[in-house]
């Protein structure tokens, strides 16, 4: 396997990792810093700040992991480092 190919693959893998961690940080922490103002928005009886901690961020985490696994698999395949099916 060409080293250049492997380096490009690892650079993309790292890029994806940083993106995922950034989204994780936003929904794990940053958005909850704004719980006060968000609580002024009420949807179906849920103040938004409370909702984000009780459900919203959790939904983002679940979706994020599935998207990550599909995206990483696509990167692996494009560079020929994926496992055989």
């Amino acid at each position: 396997m060409a080293d250049a190919n492997e380096e490009a693959w690892w650079a993309k893998t790292k890029g994806l990792m940083y993106i995922c961690l950034a989204i994780w940080a936003v929904f794990g922490y940053i958005i909850h810093l704004f719980v006060g103002p968000l609580n002024n928005i009420v949807i179906f009886g849920f103040p938004l700040g409370f909702y984000m901690a009780a459900q919203g961020s959790l939904i983002v985490f679940v979706v994020l992991i599935f998207l990550y696994s599909y995206r990483q698999d696509a990167i692996d395949r494009a560079h020929g480092v994926a496992e055989e099916d």
């Binding site: 492997e6 690892w10 893998t13 994806l16 990792m17 995922c20 961690l21 994780w24 929904f27 794990g28 922490y29 909850h32 810093l33 719980v35 006060g36 609580n39 949807i43 179906f44 009886g45 849920f46 103040p47 700040g49 409370f50 901690a53 009780a54 459900q55 961020s57 959790l58 939904i59 985490f61 679940v62 994020l64 992991i65 599935f66 990550y68 696994s69 990483q72 698999d73 692996d76 020929g80 480092v81 994926a82 496992e83 055989e84």
Partner: protein
């Protein structure tokens, strides 16, 4: 052996059918018990059948999954599909306390309790992105196995084992205690005997088949626990709001709670400033502690060996990644329901208990009062007379007069909703499944580290397969018995140590796992120094601040609560690891190649000389 493997793949191909039948059978069993209740079978027999039947089924799965192959015993032959591994991980992860006490914590703390919901879910993003797929590729049997290969052998292995035992032992004692308490409640047998009944159930599930048996029982246990968790609150939601989707409908409960909170002060039921408003942040934790707790729980999740080892069992790296997604989805189903439980429970209490005359209390108050779980005016609300005596001179129940144990918010929901006892029995079976499945995973993680890492890798590397597997079982048995004795004999203070597990695991394991995979320049000396420093600082802070007899009760530094001690240990671990690595010569070309191989999904597993397939 060939036929056994053929049988294995038949089994894998038919998983949908098998667990579909199992779920149908369980539903039929619940309906049967409901009918028996209608014809007058006493509650105690029903409880006995619930607990007995489910334990027998788990044990049967355990016995059917027996094996004499090393890779089957340690990693279920690496054949567990992502979806089912997700269920097993969810059961492994969600403890008896998650099942019974999480909703109660949210009831008591309101918004601040959501730190636990966030912390115990968000960590899976780190598991998926940073750690699990790479450990799967490496092909370890245990987490210390990877640390040894990456960081120069047995010293790193030994440190990994210390972290693993520190994070797992008190945790498993809490689970064993949970099984004993549930057996006591539903079988009416003394707690001490209940503990050993629970241990027998756990050993039957795990001893003969190791990881393989634990995997398939955990899937079965997940199905029981999630059905048991959802059913009562779904019915309650339908009764209260007309829609059986509590997770969407509890907004109504939140609004009702808020307006009742305000009217309580106006009606003289609570003094101004004493009402902990359910939706308002930072009434228990200050913002710094709220976020520090989320952080420690998340990193801890990504460092707990009994969770990480579940991803060693998938057929491929690709499936390991996807499996983390399934795990979190299955965990999410419970964790996004817990706040709904808390809200519906609080609505009931604020509407039908607080402000009511002593003679008008709902029936469930006395049912759980007799068990000492509901107190009014400081005394167990066992009967109307008991309440009247305790509240001498008072006409109505004020907010400060009422208190409820954390685990009752879930357990009392069937009675609050006026459901038959069979639903209470189902909740008990669910709590038992949650405690047993977590205990299975923890015991196996500890026993595997002792049998694979200490016995085989450090003491007797030439042991033949048969002897290794016999030793593995003897050690598993020994750890289980030690756990049971601790649960019956040790002072209850030991349960406080459970809260330490996350910070200790985070500071001890996370920097080494993370940098071991993502930073080739990390050296053996760096990793060892970092693990000792991170773990040591965390442990020191825990002991420095904990209440006696566990510690010295010193005032917290920067106001950081004991439970978030990892907030000090983690950065120390990372910094020491990086600095010492920079000061020591870079790892050999061979080691750097190993890191490359760990990162690249393609190719054979690396551990055990890649010889696993031939065993």
């Amino acid at each position: 052996m060939a036929t056994q493997q053929g049988g294995g793949s038949d089994f894998i191909n038919n998983l949908g059918k098998i667990y579909g039948l199992y779920t149908g059978g369980f539903a039929a069993f619940v309906i049967l018990l409901a009918l028996l209740e209608q014809v007058g079978v006493p509650d105690q027999y029903l409880g006995f059948m619930f607990v007995g039947f489910t334990i027998v089924v788990y044990a049967m799965i355990g016995i059917l999954s027996r094996t004499m192959q090393v890779s089957e015993y340690y990693v279920a032959g690496r054949t567990v599909p992502a979806f089912y591994n997700g269920m097993a991980t969810a059961a492994d992860w969600m403890s008896g306390a998650s099942f019974l006490a999480m909703a109660g914590t949210l009831y008591l703390l309101g918004y601040d309790g959501l730190a636990f919901v966030l912390g115990w879910t968000g960590g899976y993003v780190l598991v998926a992105v940073l750690i699990a797929p790479y450990l799967r590729k490496f092909g370890a049997y245990t987490v210390p196995d990877f640390l040894a290969a990456r960081f120069g052998g047995n010293l790193a292995r030994f440190l990994g084992i210390i972290v693993l035992l520190a994070a797992s032992f008190t945790y498993v004692v809490a689970q064993i205690r949970g099984t004993g308490l549930i057996a006591e409640r539903f079988l009416g047998i003394p707690y001490d005997i209940g503990v050993f009944v629970g241990i027998a159930g756990i050993l039957l599930c795990s001893m003969l088949g190791g990881m393989r048996a634990v995997t398939w029982t955990q899937v079965a246990q997940y199905i029981v626990l999630i059905v048991a968790y959802l059913l009562p609150v779904v019915i309650m939601s339908a009764q209260r709001t007309g829609v059986p989707i509590p997770q969407l409908m509890y907004g109504e409960a939140l609004q009702a709670i808020t307006s009742l909170e305000q009217s309580m002060v106006a009606n003289g039921l609570a003094e101004a400033g004493t009402v902990k408003e359910h939706l308002q942040p930072y009434q228990t934790y200050d913002p710094v502690n709220f976020f520090a707790l989320i952080f420690c729980l998340m990193i801890g999740t990504a460092s707990l060996p009994h969770v990480l080892m579940r991803y060693f069992t998938t057929p491929s790296v690709r499936e390991a990644r996807r499996s983390v997604g399934w795990s979190l989805l299955f965990i999410f189903i419970l964790y996004f329901t817990a706040p709904a439980y808390a809200a519906f429970g609080k609505w009931e209490v604020y509407e039908n208990v607080i402000g009511k005359g002593l003679a008008d209390l709902p029936e469930w108050v006395y049912i759980w009062g007799s068990a000492g779980k509901v107190k009014i005016c400081g005394a167990a609300a066992a009967s109307l007379e008991a309440v009247q005596q305790a509240c001498a001179g008072k006409e109505v129940v004020g907010l400060a007069d009422f208190s409820i144990a954390k685990d009752v918010v879930v357990m009392a929901t069937p009675e609050i909703a006026g459901l038959p006892f069979v639903i209470t029995g189902l909740v008990g079976a669910g709590g038992l499944a949650a405690a047993l499945s977590t205990a299975d995973g923890l015991l196996l993680a500890m026993a595997n580290a002792l049998s694979h890492d200490i016995y085989y890798k450090m003491l007797d590397p030439n042991a033949p397969t048969g002897r290794r597997l016999v030793m593995a079982r003897i050690i598993l048995f020994g750890v289980a018995i030690l756990g049971a004795f601790t649960a019956t004999l040790a002072p209850p203070d030991i349960l406080k140590l459970v809260a330490w597990a996350f910070s200790l695991a985070a500071a001890g394991n996370f920097p080494a796992l993370c940098l071991g995979i993502w930073w080739k320049r990390c050296t053996t000396q760096g990793a060892i120094a970092g693990m000792i420093a991170g773990f040591g600082v965390t442990l020191a802070y825990l002991i420095y601040t904990a209440a006696p007899p566990l510690g010295f009760a010193n005032p917290p530094i920067f106001g950081i609560a004991n439970i978030s001690a990892g907030i000090f240990g983690l950065p120390v671990g990372f910094i020491v690891m990086i600095l010492v690595s920079k000061m020591t010569p870079e790892p050999s070309a061979e080691m750097q190649k190993l890191v490359d191989d760990v990162r690249r999904p393609k190719g054979e597993v690396i551990a055990h000389g890649g010889a696993e397939a031939k065993q």
